[in-house]
């Protein structure tokens, strides 16, 4: 076997091995998207009920709560960016990070200091490599977040919001969150949302309920609100994490699908080249034999 042919065959083998890996990752992600989507929809009843309860309290009481009051003179803002722990997901993490860069630039333009909170190793590495300040980061659960993870993150953010930004270096006046919205298997959008100060937004999935009844509060409206609002934030953060996880799987599936397709193309063109090389080798051998035979017969005829 000629050297050229051997090189082609080796490359085909290695591309084939890569293709097997990307194909496997594609299939794994495809099955996990469905699971992640189910978790998003399993969490909506809770989110809907919570939204109803919060809007009920907000409608029937004039209770002021620190989480709903905007600072008159905002000094510092917190930004939470949700990305993936692992790569191989195309532009998934980098588009969330880019969205974050845009938001941070905008906040700085407004004269605010920015504290960044990161979820996912990809964002952490990006920030560390560029020597940027990270206030806090969490990782290890990006593809399968639990409510406990969301609670841990929101607890820290809520306490940062409640602290006074003017005197406390950790205190913030605003909280923004960047996550990737799962629109469909093929579309995922990085989104920026302001979480705090809180505006109670009806979720789109809430059925029209008509007028809310006059509620009695137990023990009283203020305490109910105190207990409700942190849960509300947690559930929003949890929803953002779940959607991001679904988006991550979808992005990875798509990236791995195109990697598999590219590997197939590469194998095809390498096979063509290998065939041509083999043919050239055969042709060369034939012409060498014919040439050799010619030379022999002509030398024989010369001696006669």
């Amino acid at each position: 076997m000629g050297a050229q042919l051997r090189i082609y065959r080796r490359r085909i083998r290695s591309v084939k091995a890569t293709k097997k890996i990307t194909r496997a990752m594609e299939l794994i992600s495809a099955s996990r998207i469905v699971k992640a989507q189910n978790r998003v929809s399993a969490s909506t009843p809770y989110a809907n009920e919570l939204t109803r309860a919060v809007s009920a309290v907000a409608t029937f009481s004039n209770t002021k709560h620190p989480l709903t009051t905007a600072s008159e003179n905002p000094k510092r803002a917190a930004v939470l960016i949700i990305t993936a722990d692992r790569g191989m997901a195309g532009a998934y993490s980098s588009s969330a990070i880019k969205e974050g860069d845009g938001l941070i630039a905008y906040l700085r333009e407004r004269g605010l200091e920015v504290n960044t909170y990161l979820v996912g190793r990809k964002a952490v590495n990006y920030y560390k490599f560029r020597n940027r300040q990270i206030k806090n980061s969490w990782s290890g659960f990006s593809d399968n977040p639990t409510y406990a993870n969301a609670k841990e993150v929101s607890d820290e953010l809520i306490s940062a919001f409640i602290a006074d930004a003017q005197t406390d270096i950790n205190g913030v006046d605003e909280l923004h969150i960047i996550y990737t919205e799962f629109v469909s298997m093929i579309t995922q959008n990085p989104l920026t949302k302001r979480m705090l100060p809180l505006e109670v937004v009806e979720s789109e999935a809430t059925p029209p309920t008509g007028l809310l009844p006059m509620y009695e509060f137990e023990p009283n409206a203020g305490d109910v609100l105190n207990a409700l609002l942190p849960r509300y934030i947690e559930s929003r953060v949890f929803n953002a994490m779940l959607q991001s996880a679904a988006s991550e799987h979808a992005a990875r599936r798509r990236a791995m699908k195109s990697a598999t397709d590219n590997a197939e193309d590469l194998i095809k063109s390498l096979t063509r080249l290998a065939n041509a090389a083999r043919q050239a080798e055969i042709t060369q051998e034939i012409s060498e034999i014919v040439g050799g035979a010619d030379a022999l017969s002509s030398s024989n005829s010369g001696s006669e």
């Binding site: 809770y46 919570l50 309860a53 009920a56 809310l212 509620y215 009695e216 109910v224 947690e234 559930s235």
Partner: protein
Amino acid sequence: MNSLKVELVSPEKRVWSGEATQISARTLDGDLGILPGHTPLLGVLVDGLVSIKGVDGTISEFNVHGGFLSVAKDRVSILGESTD
């Protein structure tokens, strides 16, 4: 007889849903029983047992750690931060 439409949900999933005749839960102010026709109410739950008596008479009990209970027009939703 009237019945209550009950949903017991945790952040990760819907734990129990269906029709019930009686519910008891523990709020910040103490134990609370709910029968059909209860006045609209929003209460904060403390860690404790929530028991739901279904229309068929079976009693289901859940450990709820923190959460809320809202009652409106015979519709009861119990939101537990974690339930088991």
